[in-house]
Amino acid sequence: MARRVPPHKRAPLTLALLILCMLVGACAGILGIKKKTDAGHPFEHRKHTVAGINCLTCHGPIKEATENAPITLPTTQTCLTCHKKPHDARDCNGCHGDQSIREGAMAARKHLKFAHKRHLPAVKGQCVPCHSEAGSVDPTSLRPAMAQCFSCHEHKDQWATNDCAGCHRDLPSEGSRPATHLVHDGEWLREHGIRAAASKELCSNCHQESMCASCHGKTTAALPWKLAVGDLKLDRLHPGNFMARHPMEAKIGGGLCTTCHAETTCSGCHSSKKVGAGTGAKSPHPVGWVRAVGGSHGTAARLDPVSCAACHGGAGEMLCVGCHKVGAPGGSPHGPGFASKLDKKKDLPCRLCHVP
């Protein structure tokens, strides 16, 4: 049998829970838990539907609306045809109708290839089967879910090949994401390379060639994050004072810098800023790094060639060959157990050292 906790010991716990509840309650609005009350309320579609008013009474032009027709939102004049004595002189849409629902409808008009003219005869003039939210007391959107389209249309082939252009004008610029879409935040920069490997066709629904090229292209100087000046991107590749941290980030990156940057990026910048390797520049390496015979660089390079590669990725030929040629004082650079199927007399980089 569980032992009862004495009341005097329960009091602090109860108090703590009470305070926590009060805090959550006080912060509910900030956290988005509390329902918003300051925004305009949705249009009273339900009231009109229940009263037996046909949708086309207000949205008349929609029965002739083609793919490129403008959106058919009723005006104040439309309302006045029934409401002869309005209670307010202002525009009806100013209060009756949620701006976010209107924006959703306008976005759908802009992004989708959809002709009401073609669909209305097929559903016998009934709008509610698709716009079911119109019958709701408090709708959040009147835009039918994509599943609603699939309840009549079978797009098996397009679905299988991720070809969305049949309905979506341009998914990349649309920027919408279905609820079940991959999460693109947090650690997406690390994740994307794993998930894109087998799902390239999925990615290409929303992203063009330029998306890959802006990072993986070897000739770019336009750092992608700079394009987003004025935006707050939480998963930026080089956030904050990256310039100060970059030697340390490069060290844990495992040579990852060369995924996006050309081999000359490091040496070019270090030379121009007079920091690091280059004529007349100070070296970032400690004293004794390279001596006439040996130096500490050999041991460091064997322990961690990735760090060397982070800055000297493509410069191995120039940096090393002078000393590490066969017969030269540097000797063999190969680590224990080294093996390769390259032809040392013909292939690079072998022939740099092995061919006299």
């Binding site: 082939d157 063009q208 330029s210 100087a221 100060a244 030697p247 040579g255 390079a301 060639p305 690079l348």
Partner: protein, 401 residues
């Protein structure tokens, strides 16, 4: 310098000519829909202009084109420029295949991404979910330069099964002159049987050096508002380096990272992230941990405020840091952003024991076509200098449907 200027001029003239032709051409001759976008980014260190062009022809919907070019002055003395993407694509509207020709980044399966001037063709059997992709081309050399006899080719065969499983095998071979640089082969797989479980992985093996070059795996579980991801990354320096580099023959100690990442949608406006990973390179062991909280200021998530903390501990690369950030949408067209970061290295370089950094930015949408932003960035550098930079961006876009 002269050559670079000449090239920059050519690119600018070419881009302007393209825009001019598009705008002035009779309607019947224009590609429609048409999308143009130009970004100009000015900073006190390196002004850059980026031009993005995309065109589709409504009379030939199976044909489209894309180009991205940039011109700018970098921190090095010369003015430079280049085309990142320049492609024409023809495709079967039923999705049975497509051919892309031009300059593009070839990304496919487990083998390394390649920026090439070349061709890629894809064929699909819709009924069985089988795809075959082949490509060939010359690896891109800066500023339309050429290296005779450099060539890469390869392909991928893949299969979609049960609508939830996608797997494939890809191959890549690169040559420099008469030499083979690498022959890479590897499988890739994505498996997402339910909404709460998905797995993705890929691995590559170099047949020349007879060693694994790259292996990555990610397993994610989603339970309600919590997404948990376990990941492993194993990379060989040899994969990332040009195979001509002597670093690829030093012994090539691979780098292995394994960790856990959590994302909690704690409340409609509150998101929490945490990531911790262990890192191994040879005998060296370390790791990093990051935590972040972001609170939206409105239901549309236009504005937000949050903070991030990070600790990195690996070899001599040891530091702790924190960052606070906020974005306030003042109106529908105007927003202000502020970020502040403080990094404390375990072993200071020079006399500076902390590296502060801050950024203040404003963005203003002048019209649906015009968008401008300005920012001031201030920082303390590793070598004890205080620097202030200005950044300006202007974006113009035209979309004609």
């Amino acid at each position: 310098m002269k050559a670079a200027l000449t090239l920059a001029s050519k690119l600018t003239v070419g881009a302007l000519f393209g825009i001019g032709c598009t705008i002035c051409a009779p309607r019947s001759l224009r590609a429609d829909p048409l999308r143009l976008r130009a970004d100009a980014i000015g900073s006190t260190t390196s002004p850059v202009g980026l031009l993005v062009l995309r065109g589709e022809d409504k009379f030939k919907p199976w044909l489209d084109a894309e180009a991205v070019a940039w011109v700018g002055a970098t921190s090095t003395p010369d003015v430079t420029g280049d085309a990142l993407v320049l492609t024409v694509r023809a495709r079967d509207l039923q999705g049975r295949g497509e051919v892309r020709v031009g300059r593009f980044v070839h990304v496919s399966g487990a083998v390394r991404p390649l920026h090439i001037d070349g061709l890629r063709a894809t064929g699909r059997i819709l009924a069985s979910g089988t795809s075959v992709e082949v490509f060939t081309g010359a690896p891109v050399v800066m500023r339309f330069g050429t290296r005779p006899y450099d060539v890469a080719w390869g392909g991928r065969i893949s299969q979609i099964a049960f609508g939830t499983l996608s797997f494939g095998v890809s191959y890549l071979q690169r040559h420099v002159g008469a030499s083979v640089l690498d022959r890479e082969v590897g499988p890739d797989l994505t498996f997402a049987p339910t909404e709460w479980f998905d797995f993705a992985g890929r691995a590559a093996y170099d047949l020349v050096s007879s060693r694994p070059t790259d292996a990555l795996a990610s397993l994610a579980l989603k339970t309600g508002p919590l997404r948990t991801e376990a990941f492993v990354t194993h990379r060989s320096a040899g994969r990332l380096l040009p195979a001509t580099s002597l670093f690829s023959v030093l012994g090539d100690i691979p780098s292995t990272t394994s960790g856990l990442s959590l994302r909690l949608h704690a409340a409609p406006r509150l998101d929490l992230w945490a990531t911790g990973a262990a890192l191994v390179q040879g005998d060296e062991l370390g790791g990093y941990a990051t935590g972040r909280a972001s609170l939206a200021l409105d239901d549309a998530h236009d504005g937000s405020v949050g903070f991030e903390v990070r600790r990195q501990y690996f070899g001599t690369a040891r530091w702790s840091g924190g960052r606070v950030f906020t974005r306030v949408p003042v109106s529908r067209t105007f927003a202000a952003t502020a970020e502040f970061e403080l990094v404390v290295p375990d072993k200071p370089v020079g006399t500076s024991k902390v590296w502060p950094w801050g950024l203040l930015a404003i963005a203003y949408r002048i019209s649906p076509n015009w968008d401008v932003a300005g920012a001031v960035e201030a920082m303390r550098t590793r070598d004890d200098r205080n620097e202030v930079h200005g950044l300006v961006r202007a974006t113009w876009s035209l979309e004609k449907l």
